[in-house]
């Protein structure tokens, strides 16, 4: 893979501007015609607060972070504490270098800031490892270059200049991007730093094989994360209310919505807790505004009761669940898909909801729009589940993809004119919850409308919403609400299923996955095609310990247990394609799965 791709990793202290530097680097490669994909490793204090971002670029579309990486720009951690050897967090200053060596591929490049790390700071075996792996090491005094022209923080720019020199990337793209985002004087000093670093490195001997592939985009590209896409999907579908409480990684969607809603004529509310957040979303939706809320693990758990209230009162709402490694506070900055069953079934009684698990940026946009459409057409809560992996990775998408009409349609909601024709109780109360309706949803009215008054109740209720425990009414209301799921299934089958399938129609081996792991699995599948032999088996790939997705499939289909083996990863890091390849070999060849990072679980009966 190395010959036609670049995987560049920039590492430093959290707060060292790694995010914005990597984002501009990614945009530069995108503007140069490449397909890009970023993987963001979140800082966590336990590891000493250092962070990295990996940028993968190819001439072809990129689906995953790839295996390992081939260029390390290590900036050092300027927020490092505890330099003593026996500190709990270890020597933080060298971590952005030492902790990243493990994944660096053979023949890779290392650029580190010798202005921060002297040779004696390096681990003893560093030279030995470099030689064994044929790494090409460039100690560069990035700090001094930066200080010579401007301020020390511009060492990131110096690092980018050095990268460009080593990989022969045109500086034009970086200059353009800096010009767009910086005031003129800052821009000029940065250009000096960029060019100086570039010039010095260009003069050095280059004996490495790492290069930037070439590519060309037919249409203009934009760079986004799934958090951006969920936000844009919601806005385009007419969502004008959000309530939330911060929790990683959901905070990103909440923040973006809060920033955009006022200019879109809506309202965003940060409230006292997640029970309130979900309840507010119901209140606003009940009063006629397309609404959403969301959270991550623990916060979503608090939403269980309002979620059930939405199901029985048939209040449309979209909830976003940004999963992270649990249980409890778990690993807040690490991705995992262990919340699947939680999201599907939490709250008392029979679950009555739709759950989407988009696999990439484009799907996040499409499926968020679809979630609103279904929620308002069928009066049902719709949940978009994603995770830290999707929210943190940036990908390029055709700009044209977003060139669509907004859809403010409030779904199965009546106007006052329609209400005057609708079924009412003799007393004039509107029959909001009729027993028989074509698709399961009984059209609603909105408070303030003439002729629409009714009672919404968390208790089982009559067509007018009054509390009732009559057995016949109960069965009619339950059946109608459950019928929505059949109608939605049919709706999805006829329109867009939102399921993606790749590969040969009559393939004998399959890999099945959901949500954020989709791209990685697709990439692994390309490599696996070579192995195919005629055995009917399927590997289910998911990021949790109890094979929840496999369990769901088995439960819903009632068979196929003996055909499905599982590959489970729950160490806090997303899959890499090579792990899936090895898991697949274990499935078909019965070979031992030996990686400590994931667990293979062979197929068993139903």
């Amino acid at each position: 893979m190395t010959e036609n791709e670049l995987i560049w990793r920039i590492a430093g202290g959290s707060g060292d501007g790694i995010d914005s530097t990597s984002q501009n680097f990614t945009k530069a490669l995108m503007r140069a015609g490449l397909h890009v994909f970023t993987h963001r490793h979140y800082p966590s204090r336990i590891r000493g607060g250092h962070t990295y971002v990996e940028v993968r670029a190819r001439g072809e579309p990129v689906q995953s972070r790839g295996d390992g990486y081939n260029f390390l720009l290590s900036l050092g951690d300027s927020f490092a504490r505890n330099p003593q050897d026996d500190a709990y967090y270890g020597t933080e200053e060298v971590k952005p270098l030492t902790e990243n060596l493990e994944d660096l591929n053979e023949g890779g490049i290392v650029v580190y800031d010798s202005g921060l790390l002297d040779e004696e700071d390096l681990p003893e075996d560093f030279d030995e490892r470099a030689e064994a792996n044929d790494w090409h090491v460039y100690p560069l005094d990035l700090r001094s270059i930066a200080k010579e022209h401007g301020r020390e923080v511009m060492r990131n720019t110096a690092g980018v200049g050095a990268t460009a020199a080593l990989l022969d990337i045109d500086l034009r793209y970086f200059k353009e991007l800096m010009a767009e985002s910086m005031p003129e004087d800052v821009y000029e000093t940065n250009v000096d730093v960029l060019e100086d670093a570039h010039g010095r490195v260009a003069e050095m001997d280059h004996d490495h094989d790492v290069s930037v592939p070439t590519g060309d985009h037919e249409t203009e590209q934009v760079l986004l994360s799934a958090s951006n896409a969920i936000t844009y999907g919601a806005l385009d579908e007419g969502c004008r209310f959000i309530a939330g409480y911060p929790m990683t990684p959901w905070t990103e969607v909440f923040t973006l919505m809060s920033q955009h809603l006022p200019e879109f004529g809506g309202v965003a509310e940060q409230v006292e807790d997640e029970i309130a957040a979900a309840s507010l979303a119901l209140g606003a939706s009940h009063a006629g505004v397309k609404s959403m809320s969301g959270s991550s693990g623990g916060g979503f758990a608090l939403m269980s009761e309002p979620l059930g209230l939405a199901e029985i009162t048939e209040t449309p709402v979209v909830l976003v669940e940004a999963a992270r490694a649990g249980p409890s506070t778990g690993m807040p900055t690490k991705p995992e898909q262990g919340d699947l069953e939680h999201v599907l079934y939490t709250s008392q009684g029979d679950s009555n909801r739709v759950v989407f698990a988009p696999g990439n940026v484009a799907e996040a946009y499409e499926q968020t729009r679809k979630a609103f459409e279904l929620a308002y057409d069928y009066h049902i809560p719709a949940i978009v589940m994603y995770d830290q992996k999707l929210s943190g990775e940036l990908r390029n998408v055709d700009t044209d993809f977003f060139d669509r009409e907004p859809n403010p349609d409030p779904g199965a909601t009546l106007t006052e004119d329609e209400l005057s024709e609708a079924a009412h109780h003799a007393s004039g109360k509107f029959q909001r919850y009729q027993h028989d309706t074509p698709a399961g949803a009984s059209p609603r009215s909105i408070p303030g409308q003439r002729g629409g008054r009714f009672l919404a109740s968390g208790n089982e209720h009559t067509p007018e919403g009054h509390i009732s425990e009559d057995p016949d009414n109960r069965v009619a209301q339950m059946n109608r609400r459950m019928e929505k799921l059949d109608s939605i299934e049919q709706d999805l089958a006829e329109n867009a299923s939102h399921q993606s399938r790749r590969g040969d129609e009559d393939a004998t081996y399959g890999i099945m996955t959901f949500g954020s792991q989709q791209g990685t699995v697709e990439e692994a599948a390309e490599e696996i095609e070579a192995f195919l032999e005629s055995v009917d088996e399927c590997l289910v790939v998911e990021m949790n310990a109890s094979a929840q997705f496999k369990g769901l499939v088995q439960r819903e289909l009632g068979r196929f247990g003996p055909r499905m083996s599982s590959l489970l990863k729950y160490n806090g890091n997303p899959f890499e394609p090579a792990e899936i390849v090895e898991g697949f070999e274990a499935t078909i060849n019965g070979t031992e799965f030996e990686r400590p990072t994931a667990r293979f679980q062979p197929a068993a009966g139903d």
Partner: protein, 311 residues
Amino acid sequence: MSAFNAIDTDREIEQEEFTPEIEPQATWCPGCGDFGVLKALKGAATELGLDPEEILLVTGIGCSGKLSSYFESYGFHSIHGRSLPVARAAKLANPELTVLAAGGDGDGYGIGGNHFMHTARENHDMTYIVFNNEIFGLTKGQTSPTSPKGHKSKTQPQGSAKDPLRPLSMSLSAGASYVARTAAVNPNQAKEILVEAIQHDGFSHVDFLTQCPTWNKDAKQYVPYIDIQQNDEYDFDVTERREAAEAMYETESALWEGKVLTGRYYQEDGRRTYHEEKMQQDSMPESPIAEQYFDDDHEWKRSYDLLDAHR
């Protein structure tokens, strides 16, 4: 043209319009104070000329939560403790609605206490009626946050070891801009207070003493009562925060001694309501968001226009 024509109608409103034909008779126990709230509310709504369809009444769970079954309007019988967050969002969605929330002392001061504090603080323009019977009624008489210290119940066989909380003081310090206490046994004052509370621009909190003859057998009938505005002994200015705080403290302490004080305690005028505050800082549109969906001429922005940041 509004899509919500029940709002601000000029129609004559009859008190009977607030009685739902589906459940004209409440099923509360004979002698229950909750009847007093229902009657006072119907009276207040009639006096204010409100159309049942311009009111959204959001209730919690408890005997008190059944209010929405017996009062004809748009209603939302929500879940235990959560009437306020549902109600205040409805007000933001459509500030032209008259929004009322109601529930028990357990519902509002216990399980929903966090929402009470924050809704008061934010000064949402709505009225919150707490049926304070100093007991959990629906679940058969357990001790509530307002039950007196020493109160015995099946779950506190030795008697409550906790001091009851002070709902009026709590409301004031949280930020409510209208605070009153009334009692079911005082129907005229109750109606007048509800009229004022609904008219008040901002968060109005009415602590409504409602006797529960079934479970609170310590004979809490809340008689005789004293209306502090009618009694020279309690002369204070309801617009003065410190004086109000003192009167509240005295009233709460007196109740524990069996002396029932009622009336208006605090009224802050001229403070912007929450939605006005948001409009003022341009974080909420001036006209109801709910109207946008029915307005064919509304211009819907789209995300395509935000893409510059991503190029």
